[in-house]
Subunit: 271 residues, 2 copies
């Protein structure tokens, strides 16, 4: 069951993605939170073990790319699924508006610096994909520039994958109605209000343009070496389960092993 769920959420290379055909309310065979709670918990524990083995083996690294519209749950996913990871060997890198210094470089410069080293997990909260999303929607560079980036990104990710970086990319997919509910909830709850930004409302007006931009990303940049997954994210519990399941399967496929030692332990005496 689990394997087919993962396959179902994965975008095949060159698949033409229409987000309207991906139901953000989809929850697979599950009816509610209670049913997946223990499965998610078990996955989080397995992630902790797999991460430790990756750290010990010091051969692979894992790069997780998170993209989504505001309120879709990038932060919540990190808080609920990635908190089970050992922070030693796991780094979350948020990509905001580039600094002046970053602007002086081409767009992949700051991204490359944040790629996780061997044995470690890197989580990109937003990423180089903003350079074909926000940049496109707000016309920050001409089309002649951003339209070349899909292929540039594919080649960049290919290079990383050939050099030990396992890449997995998640688009957390919510509906426009669900975003409305969540923005209203933030305004209502005094403990959540600080998360509300008036800028989110301005971005919301560009919803349809963003959907088109995401569709092009998903259609052009899901590759055998760096697949995109569209995660139905209206139900937070399903979003967390699905991502945890895909991460576990991805790390399992690496067939990692504990490092062998070069000394004979029997010949060593601790005095």
């Amino acid at each position: 069951m689990a394997e087919s769920l993962t396959t179902r959420l994965r975008i095949r290379p060159r698949q033409r993605v229409k987000l309207a055909r991906h139901d953000p309310d989809f929850t697979g065979a599950f009816q509610g939170k209670a049913e997946v709670k223990s499965a998610t918990k078990k996955n989080v524990e397995r992630l902790f073990d797999l991460q430790y083995k990756m750290y010990a083996e010091n051969k692979h690294s894992l790069l997780v790319v998170l993209q989504a519209m505001d309120t879709a749950g990038k932060d919540g996913l990190i808080r609920h699924v990635m908190t089970g990871m050992n922070p030693q060997g796991c780094r979350v890198v948020p990509f905001k508006k580039p600094s002046e210094k970053e602007f002086d470089h081409e767009y992949l410069w700051r991204i490359h610096q944040a790629v996780p080293p061997k044995g470690e997990v890197g989580i990109f909260n937003r990423s180089h994909y903003e350079d074909v999303l926000v940049v496109r929607v707000h016309d920050l560079v001409p089309k002649s520039v951003w339209s070349k980036r899909f292929e540039q990104i594919n080649r960049f990710e290919h290079y990383l994958a050939e050099n030990g970086v396992t890449i997995v990319k998640f688009f957390l997919h919510i509906s426009k109605d669900e975003q409305k509910k969540r923005l209203e909830a933030r305004l209502k709850d005094p403990l959540k209000r600080w998360k509300f930004s008036v800028g989110d409302l301005a971005e919301r007006k560009h919803w349809n343009e963003y959907m088109l931009a995401y569709e092009e990303v998903l259609s052009k940049c899901s590759t055998p070496w760096a697949p995109w997954y569209v995660i139905p994210a209206n139900a937070k519990w399903f979003r967390n389960y699905a991502v945890s399941q895909i991460l576990v399967e991805t790390l399992n496929r690496l067939r990692m092993s504990w490092p062998k030692v070069t000394f004979d332990p029997k010949k060593i005496k601790v005095v």
Copy 2:
């Protein structure tokens, strides 16, 4: 009880520390693991909440310095206590032998770059204190150089503390016998063997010199703005409990509050 335990483990400014007078087997009022298990778990949960508030408030940062002899449990502490933290806003920075580039700078250069920004937690796995520890024991720079560093470090930390960085420093204190047991256990267990390094045995020969070097660090660099704590660490469960308790108390003292918003939520309509 808890408050007095914390006070007991804290080194007072200008206190002359003799490590022989600090029992690494000390476990306070607790007899065994079972007794503190729930208290540690509760602390880890409170740390998660406090970290979230710190992240939201975006005013303070927390810098945790970990120093210890090999096998004393820096990694284990991070794995068991810090894994409860959200990796978004918590970064572990291991300081190893400086790179060539780092060597081209003075010793605090690489340290300063790793200081956590506002709202975040930084955990130093080893630190600038190695520049008065390993550097001293192995004569890597002359005494005339390293002996000036205690005061330099105090001033550096003072500056950080005056600028919003809360600093707390832990020396995980084990006995030489306990280290022997742990090294032997690593050799014996195929799943732990990879952690064994023949270099650890060479360092072990310098045990007494390290203890003297630590005593000078603890005597000279425990300040009101950046206290050292000597954590009895022969019992791993007590080590984890004590550190989690001190971290919770440290963050509680910051009296953080949820950020106020500058807009009137009633006047905002999400369309």
